[in-house]
Structure formats: structure tokens, C-alpha cells
Symmetry: C2
């Protein structure tokens, strides 16, 4: 009906090639014009500083990032469109033509998803011709930073829940619809038991969980009718939301249902008091098997407090605090040139110093198998410990089958178990030793004095 | 090469139908089973509370949300997949079949994008058969909350910048790649001058801006060579990044270039001091026309301080603080059933009370044309003032051509100009009067006592 149709902000196929900053394109053109297009660059991704209230990070987002970066293209019509930009208007038109069908053909080394990592450690190394490596910077950072934030927050919540299941309910609160998908995956990876986001279940095989909304209760004239109808449709499986009007009244009605429902959910108020009162009521109505699920702006601190108080809560639904990583919504993850044609590169910007040369990270364990410290060394150095970075892409193609999400989840569990215990405390300060090799320190000194 | 291909987390066409919470689907099935599928529901979206340090919100995200919601479908293969879920396994298979080719066929009323809004006001009203209205809840909230957060933050930054241009550089820091697109649009809408995200320029027509990255400078043996090469490729247009090694050294080299470059960018350190020293150097080198752009974790407070100090900065690049709405990354935006078949609906959950009945919001102005207060009234009441909600979708189709982004931007500017001046202060507390009509208060009382 309209000349100007509404625009969805989901990129279609072929749109990812321009999901980059303009300066990446102007630099790429610059490298072409300057005869530097074939120079072999090593860029590294690392995190500068831990966010406040984090003692470690859980690396996440890699498989999606790789899939997308390897599908990035600059099609002919995109090149044509670029020609019309003021930035390129005075350029020899042939030069942009050299970017037609541009794709990433380099190598990527990365720490596996689910790995516990620390600031200053190389997490991903991109080894490619300079313009290709430049092009993918924006996308890689956008695709890795957020999942890592969510997985890191989810791991804290899993620690706080001390074995009680956590469910991710946050799709509606994510920073745009895609964030919900990314968050569901990262939460599951870091120990959550399931998600409410159906597409995340379909696409990633994450167990789906659901209760009912207040609207279901409101849609009936009486709360008991609403409960009975739902329980009748999902016999033995229903989780009834009891706080639309009066919580204990709701619990009483839920307890009366035959056969017994699966669970109740309390979404507001004093969860400690209410869960105890609800447990008491349920038990007195011969409903010891009916579980109690709680939700409502829960974060790891509140969860830990409820667990420590012994609140009879069988599971936690978590939304906004997780999917926005509310207390730490940003990660200082950067992508820096460290080597060009074998020559070390660095920068000195205040507070933003970088170490030159392609690197590997080696993790050492103590005799109990706990992580004892990491060494960041030059790729060409020999070092003790488990090398964390592995080759995942070569010649622009994946070199290995991506691990299943279940496997990544197991890895994350193992990693958290191997972390020194004191780092798992919610108020821990990070004292985990990450050191640079003597060689790297010498390289850095030499370049700075250079 | 691999059996298990890497999975991109961009939904393809046809995937939006399951971008919803599982409980929406179990409730939809429940409505079908309970003979309630044709009941006319009115759901309303509003914000419960202002985030800390916000005195108003700028509504954004509507056009994308509408485009996506109207394209949501449940295809036959998705229905088939749903049949296999534990939640639906004991269900009469025919019932899920009734959801085949399900689409939204209702009406939507909404406040135009760019409108300044306040908590408690209806921003969107969805009027549809109960299951349809339930289905779109998750997506609508996910699509509207984040853009509104960013536009609201961007408006504060625009006030702080006091007319100096702001550029959105945050794609790499968004919560997933899509967030960058949404943020670029919301920032422009709220007064930013441009974005660095190329796809946002292509898709939305937002002016693109770019400078250079540190890697360009590092890729050359000497900073002056890097500067000269870039300036040569983009004569008169180049913005040179001067802080890779030593800022003032960098400025000196940038000033020496012939013909004069367009601008320099400083991305670290004390921006007030450095911009003054840079201005001084540039002027002494006959480079009064070369502009100074600053970036580096800038928020509205830092921008206001730099402007108040009279720092000679011609434009600000803003990233992480804007695209994560870092100080307030979450918005308590909710979607509540308020009316069913003409009957008022409400809930009493602690701290989450809602007002029944479909509503309209009326804005009054004082004799200077400034906003004087809003009245939330029943749709069937007469009231003074400008009605904010307008019909945008009827029978599942858009009823009007969506306004251009330029027009939305103009509306936003006009709205901010009409806001009482004291509310624009960065530390303002919201004292803007939003009242409910006597009729609504009476309805709410009657239902609560009922």
C-alpha cells in the first residue's frame, strides 16, 4: 500500500559485508591504493579490564561469530552503492572494484567457547591479508563481546544458585531481538537449564521452559477457573503463576487442583517469605511434589541470598539482569594489530598500551588440577602449560567441526570447577596470575624505546 | 566439510514466528482449547519507572517492530517442530494445526517515534484476538525497549553537546550485531549527526562518518607516512587519528600535511587539555580550518563538562556509553492485558499494579507551547489536549506510510524543544505531571474492591 515500506532491521543474506565501520572500508581502500593489500597481518582480540564485580570471564559467541564472518561478502551492488558515498566520491572507480566479491580468506585462532579467561590474554587471533583482517574487526567484536558478558554473568548466577536450576526468561529485555537468541545460548553454555525463547530451542536445541503469563489469569473471570483450565490442558506439566491478585490465595487454589500440577511461579514481592508460606501451604495440601519457581528482577546476589536463607525455591527464572548484564553491560574487548609481515606492532595511547607479536596463551594447573596461572608468550616461543588458542579457520574455511553446544557447556562446567575456589565468590577480586613472557616484555620495551 | 555446520544467529525469513516465549504458545493453545480464540483483547505497552538519571524517554523502534511483527508467521514445518516439544506432546495434534499460517490480523495504536514520553503512559495498544495479541508480546517488547533506551540516552547527549555534532561509533560494543543497527537509527533519530556503521547508512540513509583506526597508523613504519598516505587518498576529507604514539607529535605531523586535512581525532587521555594544545598547534600551523574530533568512552556528563570548559572540540564520537545505555541498560517496559471483550482487566501484584481499559494519552501545552502535563484517559472518554496514540495497523496491515527517518528526527527535535526546560538538565528529576482520568481511577478502585 505504501511507497516507503517499513524496514526490518534483520540483515538478509549478503548484508553482513557492510556490517562494519566506515573507517574499515576507507582503510581497506587505502591499503589497496598503498600496495599493502597482500601484507600479512596478525590482529588479536583481548579484554583490557574486567568489568566491576567480575573475577573471571567465560568466553562465548565464537561459533556464531565465525559463521557470520565467513559468510561476509561485498557484492557488486554493494560496491556500486559504496561508490556513491561522499567518502569515496573522488576515488578512482577501479579501486573499489577490487573489493568485489571480497571475502575473508585468512586464518583464525581462538580459545574454545566455555573457556574461563582473563584480561590481557589473547582470545582470538586473526591472521590474514591486512584489508581482510581490518574488515572483520567490527563484526567480530560485536559478535563476541556480548555473549561473553552474558556467559560470565550466567556463570555467577549458576554459582549463586548452588545446583538449583536456572531458566533464562529475558528475550523481551534484550538489546533488540537478536540479543535474546545470543543470551539464551550463552546462558545455557554457562550452566542454565533452559530458556523460554522458542527460536533458541528450535535452532540450538536448548531445553524450552515456560509457565504462564498474568494475562492468562486475567483472561478468565476467576483465578481458579484460569488455573483449572491450564492444568486441564497440560495435565501434570503446568506451572501456575500465583501472584496476579493475592499470592497465598493463588497458592491455595493451585494446591487444590487434581491431578497435582508441576509447579507454581511467584513473580513479585518478598520471595523468601512467600516461598516459605507457599511451601507450607502446598505441603499441608499434600502437594509436596509441586515445585516452587521464582522470578522477578533476580540477580546473582538475590539468588545467593535466597539460597543462603534456605528459601524453599526449586528453580529461578532470570531475565533482565542476565540479558542486559545489568551491572556490567559493557566489555572492553579490543582488536589490535600486533604483527605485520613478521614485524611487531604496538601502540602507546594512554591507558591503551598493547604488546606486539602473535601470541599463544599457556595455562598451568596445580597438583589438584586447579588453574594456577597463565602465561602469554610469543607464538614462536616454547612454553609449559596447555595452549588455549587453537586453529579454527584456515584459508577462509573452518578446519574443524564446531563442538556441540552440549560439549561447550561441559567444557564450561569443567573450567569453572578448575578455577581456584576463591575466585568463584560473588565478591571475589581477581588475583589470578596472567604474565607476559620475558621475550614479550623485552619486545615491548625495545619497541617503546625504539 | 563438516556435518554440523556453524550456525548463524540471524533469523531468516519465516523464523520470526518463534521469536516468542514458550508460554505465549502454551497460552495460545490454551485459548484455542478453551474456546477463547476469538475474544477481542486490548494489551497496552507502557514503562513502569524511569531508569535512574532519566527525566524523560524518547520513544523509538516502532517502525522496525511493526515490520517484523506483521511478517511473523507459523509455517507448517514450525508447527510440526512444535508438536515434538514435551510441552505439547500430550496434546490433541489437531489443536496445533489450528496455528498453521497464523499471523497477526489485529490493530495497533502507537505513539509516533520521536515522541517524548513518560512512565505510566500507554505507548502502544494492541487490539486483536487474544492468541494473536499474546503471541507478539515478546517481540514487541524486545523491539521497542532497546531503541527507546538508546534514543533517550542520545537525546541527553545531544543536550550536553549543545549543538556540536555527535557521531555514533558503537557498533562493536552493542549487545550483538543487530544492536548496532538499532542503535545507529535511534541515535540519529534523537539528534546525532551520523553513524560509522555502513549498513545503517545503506539501509536507513543515515550519514556515514569515519576517521581511521590505530591499525592504519601502526601498519606504516612511521606515523607521518601513515598520515601522508591517508591524506593523499582522501584529499581534504581525511580525519587523522593522532594518539597512537604521542598526541602532540601526531598533531604536529597532521598539521604539516598539504593540502590541509579535514580533521584530527583524539581517542584517549585528557581531552580538555589535549584538544586545547592541539587547537593551539593547528592554529599556529595555519590550520584553523582543521577540526578536532574527540572520542573515548564519552558519556553525556563528560561531553557537558568539555563543552562547559570551552574545550575546542568540534564533534564527539560516542560508542559504548550510548549503545549499551551503560548507566541504565534496562527499561521496565511491559505489555499488559487491560481489556477483554469490553471488560476491564487489571492485576494487583505487589509494585506491578495496572489500570484497566483501553486508553488514550492526551498532552496539554501551556501558552508558550511547552508541554504542561499528560492525561491518561479511557478511549471512550472525551478529553482536552493532543491525543498521542494513533492507529498504525488495522486488520494486520499498515494503515499509513511510515514516516521517513528525517521526519521522525524532526519530530524528536520539536518534542525536546517543547519539553519544560528544567527537564533537559542532565541531573533533572522528573516532575512532569502524568495523571489518570477520574473515570480510570474509579474503574481501578471498583475492580480492586470488586
Amino acid at each position: 500500500m505504501s511507497r516507503r515500506e517499513p524496514v526490518s532491521l534483520w540483515p538478509g543474506e549478503g548484508d553482513l559485508g557492510l556490517m562494519t565501520d566506515l573507517y574499515q572500508l576507507t582503510m581497506m581502500v587505502g591499503y589497496l591504493k598503498s600496495g599493502m593489500a597482500e601484507r600479512r597481518a596478525e590482529f588479536e582480540i583481548f579484554v583490557r579490564r574486567l568489568p566491576r564485580d567480575r573475577a573471571y570471564l567465560v568466553f562465548s559467541g565464537l561459533e556464531q561469530a565465525l559463521a557470520d564472518v565467513l559468510s561476509m561478502r561485498l557484492s557488486a551492488d554493494r560496491i556500486e552503492w559504496l561508490r556513491g558515498l561522499p567518502a569515496f566520491s573522488r576515488l578512482d572507480p577501479a579501486i573499489l572494484g577490487q573489493l568485489a566479491d571480497f571475502r575473508f580468506e585468512g586464518a583464525i585462532w581462538a580459545v574454545p567457547e566455555g573457556t574461563v579467561v582473563f584480561p590481557g590474554e589473547t582470545l582470538v587471533r586473526v591472521s590474514a591479508p591486512l584489508p581482510q583482517a581490518q574488515w572483520v574487526e567490527t563484526y567480530l567484536l560485536a559478535a563476541l563481546g556480548y555473549p561473553t558478558l552474558v556467559a560470565s554473568k550466567a556463570a555467577r548466577m549458576a554459582v549463586a544458585a548452588a545446583g538449583r536450576p536456572l531458566y533464562e526468561f529475558g528475550a523481551r529485555r534484550g538489546h533488540g531481538p537478536q540479543a535474546g537468541l545470543l543470551a539464551a545460548r550463552s546462558a545455557f553454555l554457562a550452566g542454565f537449564a533452559g530458556t523460554s525463547l522458542v527460536e533458541a530451542g528450535r535452532r540450538l536445541g536448548i531445553p524450552l521452559v515456560g509457565t504462564m503469563g498474568h494475562s492468562w489469569v486475567q483472561a478468565f473471570d476467576r483465578e481458579d477457573q484460569a488455573f483449572a483450565a491450564y492444568a486441564d490442558i497440560y495435565p501434570g506439566r503446568a506451572t501456575l503463576l500465583v501472584d496476579t491478585y493475592d499470592v497465598l490465595e493463588g497458592v491455595r487454589k493451585a494446591a487444590a487442583i487434581e491431578p497435582a500440577i508441576a509447579a507454581i511461579r511467584i513473580d513479585s514481592g518478598e520471595l523468601d517469605l512467600q516461598s516459605r508460606a507457599a511451601r507450607d501451604l502446598l505441603d499441608r495440601h499434600d502437594r509436596a511434589g509441586v515445585k516452587i519457581l521464582c522470578s522477578g528482577d533476580l540477580d546473582e546476589t538475590k539468588i545467593a541470598r535466597l539460597v543462603a536463607a534456605g528459601a524453599p525455591i526449586d528453580g529461578f527464572g532470570v531475565g533482565v539482569e542476565l540479558v542486559t548484564s545489568r551491572d556490567a553491560p559493557a566489555l572492553s574487548m579490543v582488536y589490535k594489530l600486533v604483527e605485520l609481515e613478521g614485524q611487531g606492532k604496538f601502540k602507546l595511547s594512554p591507558g591503551k598500551r598493547t604488546y606486539p607479536m602473535a601470541k599463544q596463551v599457556y595455562r598451568r594447573r596445580d597438583h589438584d588440577g586447579k588453574f594456577a596461572g597463565d602465561l602469554v608468550a610469543r607464538l614462536d616461543e616454547k612454553a609449559e602449560g596447555e595452549p588455549l588458542l587453537e586453529l579454527v579457520v584456515q584459508g577462509g574455511r573452518p578446519v574443524r567441526e564446531p563442538p556441540s553446544l552440549a560439549l561447550v557447556r561441559e567444557r564450561c562446567r569443567d573450567q569453572l570447577e578448575a578455577l581456584p575456589d576463591h575466585l568463584l565468590a560473588l565478591d571475589a577480586r581477581c588475583d589470578y596470575p596472567v604474565v607476559y613472557s620475558d621475550q614479550l616484555e623485552a619486545d615491548a620495551r625495545r619497541l617503546m624505546e625504539g
